[in-house]
């Protein structure tokens, strides 16, 4: 958040500096202040309304009064996981999409939302559903939701600003050289370099925001998996749920690009998700599914070994 605001402040004040160089008098740095203020307002607005926007974009409806058995089961499962996690009960939303997926959004455990698709309700049994909800509550408890939701909204906002600035630059491109043309010649090369850098950073701004969004995604996904195993004490349930979700494979259309990193499984079905290595770690929002499943099975095996159970009559066989 602070990085976001500082970045825009740098852009704004940089623009003022260039203006000052070109005109050789020091105007009130209004561009810097305006941009910083705009960044702060955008960030605050994104923070406040982020969750509602994300949920609205997917077409989800809230589960308030459970009518069917499936709805009652979801409500109960979420309540149980909230008890195990020691957080207040989140609000439950259902996305009318046949592809199985789930995501969490919100500001903090006291004001959080969990959404599941109808596809997920169909293919998972009670334990698997519980494991998936446990994973989402793990995100809520870690305050991943605050980070991710705000970034999802910011990505949208930055793209809007970039488009707006693009239009303004086209119109006002003549401004820097308008007055003080004599002095401008002396500051010529420096001015050109600064201007170029400034323009480049405008182009990079959306990319930087995107990178910030993905930067710690993979690690947080693994952590949420582990927290689900801790809440349910049943890592194999999550492994089996992930296997089912993975094999259902089709992209989840309701969940748009901005919200991808909030979901349990990459809704866009990107190939990058399945790769390892530095590049994939930086740009992919989710770890490879196979890796997640094998880590969970490893936990299950360790648990089984500790309890002295038999290998053959467990789900690992």
């Amino acid at each position: 958040m602070i990085g976001f605001v500082l970045f825009f402040a740098w852009l704004g004040f940089g623009g003022d500096y260039i203006w000052a160089l070109s005109n050789n008098h020091h105007p009130f740095p209004w561009l810097g202040i305006v941009l910083t203020a705009a960044a702060i307002v955008t960030a605050w607005y994104a923070y406040k309304t982020g969750p509602e926007k994300v949920l609205w974009a997917t077409g989800a409806h809230e589960l308030i009064d459970p009518q069917t058995d499936a709805e009652r089961q979801v409500a109960n499962v979420v309540d149980e996981m909230a008890i195990a996690a020691g957080v207040p009960r989140p609000r439950i939303w259902i996305v009318p999409d046949p592809d199985p997926n789930a995501f969490a959004t919100g500001h903090d455990p006291r004001d959080s939302h969990i959404a599941v698709t109808e596809g997920l309700l169909k293919i998972c049994n009670r334990d698997e559903l519980q494991a998936v909800i446990g994973h989402e509550l793990g995100h809520v408890k870690n305050l991943d939701v605050r980070l991710m939701t705000t970034l999802a909204a910011l990505v949208g906002a930055v793209l809007l600003v970039r488009d707006g600035m693009g239009r303004m630059m086209g119109r006002g491109g003549r401004l820097p050289g308008r007055s003080g043309g004599r002095r401008a010649k002396d500051a010529g090369p420096l001015l050109a370099i600064l201007l170029a850098l400034w323009v480049i950073s405008w182009i990079i701004a959306p990319l930087v925001t995107q990178l910030l969004a993905m930067a710690v995604s993979r690690r947080r996904e693994y952590l949420a998996d582990a927290m689900s195993a801790q809440f349910t004490r049943n890592p194999l349930a999550l492994a089996s749920a992930l296997e089912k979700i993975e094999s259902a494979a089709a992209p989840t259309e309701s969940i748009k690009r901005g919200a991808a990193h909030l979901c349990i499984c990459d809704p866009l079905g990107r190939r990058l998700t399945n790769r390892e290595g530095w590049l994939a770690d930086t740009f992919a929002t989710h770890p490879p599914m196979g890796m997640r499943i094998s880590r969970l099975k490893g936990m299950g095996y360790a648990q089984l070994k500790k309890e002295g159970g038999s290998f053959t009559n467990s789900a690992l066989a």
Binding site: Q73, V77, A84, G86, R233
Partner: protein, 189 residues
């Protein structure tokens, strides 16, 4: 001279933060313990309604239903007697859990029964109730373990005395019979 001052400030800040951490965990542990009671009470309040909802459909299993109601009444009575009877409370609650699981097994015997709306709902609600109690106990144990560990780990033990930190007991099974595999008798009687 300056270095000493800075050091004292840093140590002071650490002491404050360790003390606050212990206090916070102590309160969380107490809260988690009470949460178990919340779930037990919920079960007490829920059972009569649930049993009434299925009485019509399960008339032929009246004895099982009555066993549940009796165990529930007993548990309520014991709970009201006060905090000294922790052992009796857990015994009564375990008896109630036993009666409920026998009821659930009975329902499994009649697959047609599950199709009857109310009975399917009964099963789900009972399963959820038992799960909630189990998770409440799990949360209590987890929190208590965290508290105990923090008290005992090295630098924080120095502050533990100041914070009146005491070792809390984990919820455990007192009756060895609980650990035995439950016997389910499906013979017709």
């Amino acid at each position: 001279m300056w270095v000493l001052l800075v050091l004292v400030v840093i140590v002071g800040l650490w002491i404050v933060s360790a003390y606050n951490g212990l206090v916070s965990l102590k309160n969380q542990t107490a809260n988690a313990f009470k949460q178990i009671d919340v779930q037990l009470k919920r079960r007490h309040d829920l059972i009569p309604n649930l049993v009434n909802a299925v009485k019509g459909a399960m008339d032929f299993e009246r004895s099982t239903l009555e066993a549940v109601i009796q165990a529930r009444n007993q548990a309520v009575k014991v709970n009201a007697s006060g905090p000294e009877g922790i052992k009796q409370i857990s015994q009564a609650e375990n008896a109630l859990s036993g009666a409920l699981s026998r009821l659930l097994v009975t329902v499994e015997r009649y697959p047609d029964l599950k199709a009857t709306g109310n009975v399917g709902q009964l099963q789900e609600e009972l399963t959820s109730t038992e799960n909630r109690i189990a998770f409440a106990r799990q949360l209590y144990n987890d929190t208590a373990t965290q508290y105990n560990t923090k008290q005992q780990q090295f630098p924080t033990t120095l502050v533990a005395g100041l914070a009146h930190a005491e070792r809390t007991d984990l919820w455990e099974i007192e009756d060895q019979a609980e650990r035995a595999v439950p016997q389910v008798d499906l013979s017709r009687r």
